[in-house]
Structure formats: C-alpha cells, structure tokens
C-alpha cells in the first residue's frame, strides 16, 4: 500500500564517514517524521542488492528522493547498480511494467564546484538539468514525475554558517515535497543566485 505522507529517501555515499555536507543534510532529513532513510551502502556493502526487497519497499511509497554526491556527472556506483537491477523490465518499465507509475522523484545532489561552473562558460560546460538528463529519462521511462534537481553547490567550501543555512533550507524543501509532492525550485534557486551575487 502506498503511503502518501511518507517519503522514501534513497541515499548513496560510498565514504559517508568522510562526508560533511551529505551527513548534515541527511541528519536534517532524519529529523522529519515520516521520512524513511534507506542507506544503500550501509545495506549492501557487497553491492549485492536484494531486488525483491527493494521493489516491495518502492511500491509502498509515492514520493521518492535520490540523494547522493554528483560523481563524474552521475551517481555513485551502487546507486547505478540499483537502477540496473531494481528497475526491472516488466516491473518498472516495458509492456506490463507500471509499478512506479505516478510516483514523484526528487533528485538531491551535492556538487563540489560552484553553480557558475555548471554553465557554458564554466569548467563543467553544461548545466545540471542537462547533465542529469539520464536520470530524468530513467524516471520518464518508468512513468515517474522527475522534479527539478535540488543541488547544493560548492560542497567542499561551505563554512559552518552556510552549512546551517543549507540544512535548514533542505529541511523546508523536504517538508514541502512530503506534503505537496513538489517543491518551489524557483524559490531555492533565487536563494542561490542571491548568495552568489553577494559574493
């Protein structure tokens, strides 16, 4: 049975013990009642994903978060493995694959570079919406609604104060997603822009 007010947060970080920003974000998420954190690297240290368990977990939630660091314009290996194995033909996509239809996905990324680097002029040359196209299409093929990615830029350089801001903002965004199934990406983008201009 789907539970509308609860959120499944799929988290992937191969070196969580060294992570700073993701740890803080995850802590903020953990404080919200009704958000279930599913820490993939903690569950499958040997990369052997229990496909059946994952599928039955997915079917219980209508709102899903993918949270991970943005490694080489993609996800850490285990989350990729998760896509490869769990999103089975005939279940997630294909002729009779409707198990995920109508679910909403919020994609949460932490990126080392600043927002300006994800532009034509910047070192990464493409924007985040462009670079995350494979995720968007994965969701689309599974008939899920893919929201604008939520990105924490400059993750290596955040000071303590900025970190607190980010986690507070993340908490608000998650709560909004939890209750409405969407979040105001424009609002959070404006915050980003404001901060960048201030610098």
């Amino acid at each position: 049975m789907e539970n509308a007010s609860e959120v499944l947060l799929l988290f992937a970080h191969p070196a969580f013990q060294k992570s700073r920003v993701n740890r803080a974000l995850l802590q903020a998420a953990g404080q919200i009642p009704g958000i279930y954190i599913h820490d993939l690297y903690e569950l499958y240290p040997d990369m052997l994903i229990d496909v059946q368990a994952e599928q039955s977990l997915l079917s219980r939630y209508s709102r899903i978060v993918w949270q991970h660091p943005f490694y080489w314009y993609s996800a850490p290996a285990l989350l990729k493995q998760w896509f490869d194995l769990v999103l089975q033909h005939g279940w997630a996509y294909g002729h009779s694959g409707n198990a995920l239809a109508g679910k909403k996905v919020m994609h949460v990324l932490t990126a080392g570079g600043p927002q300006t680097s994800y532009s034509r002029e910047g070192g990464n040359r493409y924007s985040i919406p462009e670079l995350t196209l494979p995720f968007r299409q994965t969701a689309a093929l599974c008939q899920m609604e893919y929201l604008e990615p939520y990105v924490v830029y400059g993750a290596h350089k955040l000071n303590r104060e900025e970190m607190t801001d980010k986690t507070n903002q993340y908490r608000l965004v998650l709560e909004e997603f939890q209750s409405t199934g969407a979040y105001n990406s424009a609002q959070s983008k404006m915050n980003e822009a404001g901060e960048n201009n201030a610098r």
Partner: protein, 628 residues
Amino acid sequence: MHGEQYFLSAFIYLTAAVIAVPVAKKLGLGSVLGYLLAGMIIGPFVLGLVGKEGQDVMHFAEFGVVMMLFLVGLELKPSLLWSLRGPILGLGGSQVLLTTIVFFGAGLLYFAHWQNSLAIGLIFAMSSTAIVLQSLSEKNLTHTVAGKNAFAVLLFQDIAVIPILVVLPLLAVVSNTETSSHDSHGPAFLDNLPDWAQPFVVLAVIALIVVVALYLSRPIFRVIARTRMRELFTAISLLVVIGIALLMTKVGLSPALGTFLAGVVLANSEYRHELESDIEPFKGLLLGVFFISVGASINFELIIQDPIRIFSLVVALIFIKMIVLFILGRIFKMNIDHNLLFTFSLAQGGEFAFVLFSFANQNGVIEKTVSEPLVAAVALSMAMAPLLMTFNEKLLLPRIGTKEKTEPEADAIDEENPVIVAGFGRFGSIVGRLLMANGVRATFLDQDADHVEILRKLGFTVFYGDASRPDLLESAGASKAKILIIAIDDTEKITQIIEYCQKNFPDLKIFARARGRTEAYDLVNIGIQNVYRETFDTAVRMGSDVLHALGFRAHFARNAGSLFKRHDEKYLQKLAALRHDNKNYMNVVRQSRDDLDSLLSREIHEVNDLEDHNWDVEALRKPVDEEH
C-alpha cells in the same frame, strides 16, 4: 581452642553479616555500616555472643586491608601511580602534618606532657583505609577527583605509619616496662642489626619484592597456570600476599604497603585479572569480619560511664579532621562537590589507631586510662563514617553541589576496552588483529599460558584466565564493554558465558563462533543473533573459486558464493526454530542429515535464481525489441 568453638564463632559472625548487610544495603547505608552494626549487636555489650577474642579476630581480619591494598595496587599501573605522586606527597603530606599539628595544639591544653599530645596527634591523623576505599568503590566513586585524592591521602598515611612506629617509642613519658618485648608490629628482626644497616635492609627487601614480581613471577605463574588447576592458582595468589605480608612485618614495614607495591608491579602482568578474581572473595570476607570486629570492639561500658566526654571526643575528632580536609581541598583546587566528598570520606579515625595506641601503651607513651576513651572515640568515628558519607551524598550535595560529581573522570584508573575477546586462538586472534588494525582496543582472555606469554610479547592486551568464570569476565570489564566475542572451543563453557552475560550484562552484544551447523542452531536457540560457523565462509569462498576455475566469470562466481551464503544464513535461523520444537535429541544426527537434504533440494531451485535479471540479455531481448 576446640574446633567446635571455631565453628560457633564463624557461625555467629557469618549469621550477623548475612542478616545485617542486606538490611543496611536496603536502607541505602552501604555494607560497611551493616557490618559495623552487626558487630555492635553480637559484641560483648549487646548480645555478648562474641567476647574478648574479638580483638584477636580483628588482628586476623586486618589482613583484609592488606589484601585490599594488593588489589588496589593491581589496578594501578606504575605510570599511573607516578602521575599520582603530586597528590600523594602534597595532599597526603599536608593532611598528616596539619592534622597532627592541630590535635597537638589542642592536646597541649589537656595533657601535662607534650609527648602525649604529639602521639595522639599523629594517631588521629590516620583515616580508615578499609572503610573509605570500600565505601567509595561501593558508590562507584573511586575514579572521581575526590576518590583519587582520598586514595592518595590514605596511601601517604599508610607510608607514614612506618616512621610513626619509629618515633613513638621516643615519646615515652613513663619508664616503660615492656619496651624490650616488641609486639609483632615492631621491627623485630632489625633490632639485631646495627642502626646504620637497618635502612639498607629495608630498601633491599623492597627491591627484592620488585625484582621478584617483575622477573620471577611470570615464569612461576606460568608453571602453575599450565597445571590447569584453578585452586592451585588461588593458592599461589594467596601465597604471594601472605608471603609479602610476612616479609614486610619481619623488617617492620606495613604489610599493606608491601602488597600494594607488589600489586603495582604486577599491574602490567597478564595474570592480573586472574589474581584479582582469586583474591577478591577473600578480601571481601576478611574485610567484612574486620568491620564486624571493629563494631564488636566498641566499648559501650566506657561510653555509658561518661557519654558526654566520649561523644565530645568523637565530635572533636571528626570536626577537626573535616576542617583540615576542607581547607586542603580548597588549597588543592577541588570544586565544592569533590571537596565535600573528599572531606566527608576521610573524617574518621583509622584502624591504624588501634595498633598505634596499643603500641604506645606498651612503650609507655600513653597510659591506658588515657588511651581507652580515645580508642572508643576512634571506633565510634569509624562507625559514623558511612553515615556521614551518606549524609553528604543524600542531603548535602543535592543542595550545595553542582551535580557534577557523578561523572567519572576521563583518565580512569583501569583501561576499559569496548570489546572483550574470549579465546585468542586461531579464530579469536584473526578477529582481534582486524579490530586492532582499525584502531579498536580489545581485551583478550585466553587459557593457554604459553599462548598468552607469546602474544604479550607481541604487544597484545592478553590476560590469562578461564573466560567462563563470571568474576574474570567482570574484572575484564564486561559491565562496561559493548561487545563480547566468544571464540573458545568448549561448548559447555560457551553456554555458561552466554547465560551469565544475558542475565547480568543485558546491554553486552554477543558475537559467538560455532563449530558447525549443530552448534550454530544451539546458539541461535539461546538467543544469539550473531553466530559464525568457523568453516562456513572459507568453504563458500573455496566453492566460488572452484566455480571460477571451471570457467565461470569471476564476478558471477563471487556473487553466487555471496548469494549462497545469504540464503544459507536465512535458513539457519529458520531451521534452528524448527529444531527447538524437536525435543527428542536422540535423532540429532538424522535431523542434521534431513536438514542438509532439505537444504540441498531448496538450493537447486533458489540459489541459481540469481537476482540480476536485468543483466540477462536473453530474457530482455524479446520484450525490448517489441517496445522500441
């Protein structure tokens, strides 16, 4: 004395203890007060069940104090003792000095001879090691700042007894008639030596104890341990304590001090926990008897004759000591909580007072008529001590204190590791090495003396002993550790350990090794979740390597092995429950064969069902073609 008489006395003492101590504990007063009350009740002045022989019993039971200091020493590594040198000399020294001066000054008002006052001052400076340490450890306060400082003061007092014994005869005011016949506390053997040689002999004896403890004890303990007879190790433990006590008495030193020293030297030994758990019950019992005999020795006749004088003496004794202690606590920068605990702990006369007063009588320093009320006052102050500590803890600290005192200090006397590994053999050692390689500190217990010796040399914290002994587990820190790893062979002992730990340390997580499937079932059925069959993982790994060697891709072979493992462990839990229903252990063998049968038939269907359909191009080809 007839044997029957002995048994009767023992019966009375033990009955008193068994009744009084639980009652006192129930009332929150601590065991020490319970023993003291029991003594008063069976003593000559209330029930009269024990008579004057109470004094002899007390002398005998004083040996409990000696054992206690040995145990204290065992917990105190030389480096830790060295770090306590400041408090011992500074705090301890000034406590003895200041208290003596104050009592000396007060005594001058009452006594014609200044010698009397000085002797009384010195004797009153002592506190009761037995009562204080026992009470502090019962309240779990030994590792606090106050506890450590109190210990430092007590240690200095124990050392100070030696020069006091030397000085007292010089303070004689009446021509003494008994001087030539020293009692057992006098330096009997040394009297035959010239004066200049005496200090050398004393130093030589101390050096002898240190050298023997450092270099000879280990091979001797090892030989004893090899016999695998527990009572023999208890015998050698007692032998060590008694031997040192005897030697120290011969050269006129405090036996407690000698055993303390030996304890410190042995604190780094792998036999430490075994020694501890062997001596502990003797110490506890003897101390109990000691407290009872102190209670029994309180001279109520004297108190009834002149209650005002005795009680004003008691009040003066306690009050003056408290003031001195509190001022010192201030000077040594203890906060108010610690200072109050420190002050209230040490404000009583000590068991040394009995010894020193009788020594002073014999040497004509103090007359019996003078010393008797003083002895009564000391005994009463000792009986008051637990009450005062309870008063401080229950009534005073909650009002004044800052609540900080219950937090134990970070640099506790004993190292307490989060993991205990029972059995450091071919299995436990691998687990241990992995933990150590990742910076996890573990305490190891092993029963093979040779084994322990070698591992010690390699730098592991290994202790000799049988891990199924509750007391050994306890002294290895089972009450504070997070995880216990059981890697010993004897299944009966494994069950014993588990049952004991489940009952007494419910928070301790147990990871147990099982020889095979049958043993694993048993462990699962007594509630152990983390069960590891010793050959299972290796066999699976070999199986998947064989698959690889036969031409399967390495990745497939590895996953096949892992899935097999996951599947097998799932069924282990299930089948263990089935087995639990089957009460008939006669067909254990058939049962395990049936288990294997059912396992095999299931496996053929399930394990090959590898969960990677999405990578299976054959399965995908048709439907995908249809779609795109």
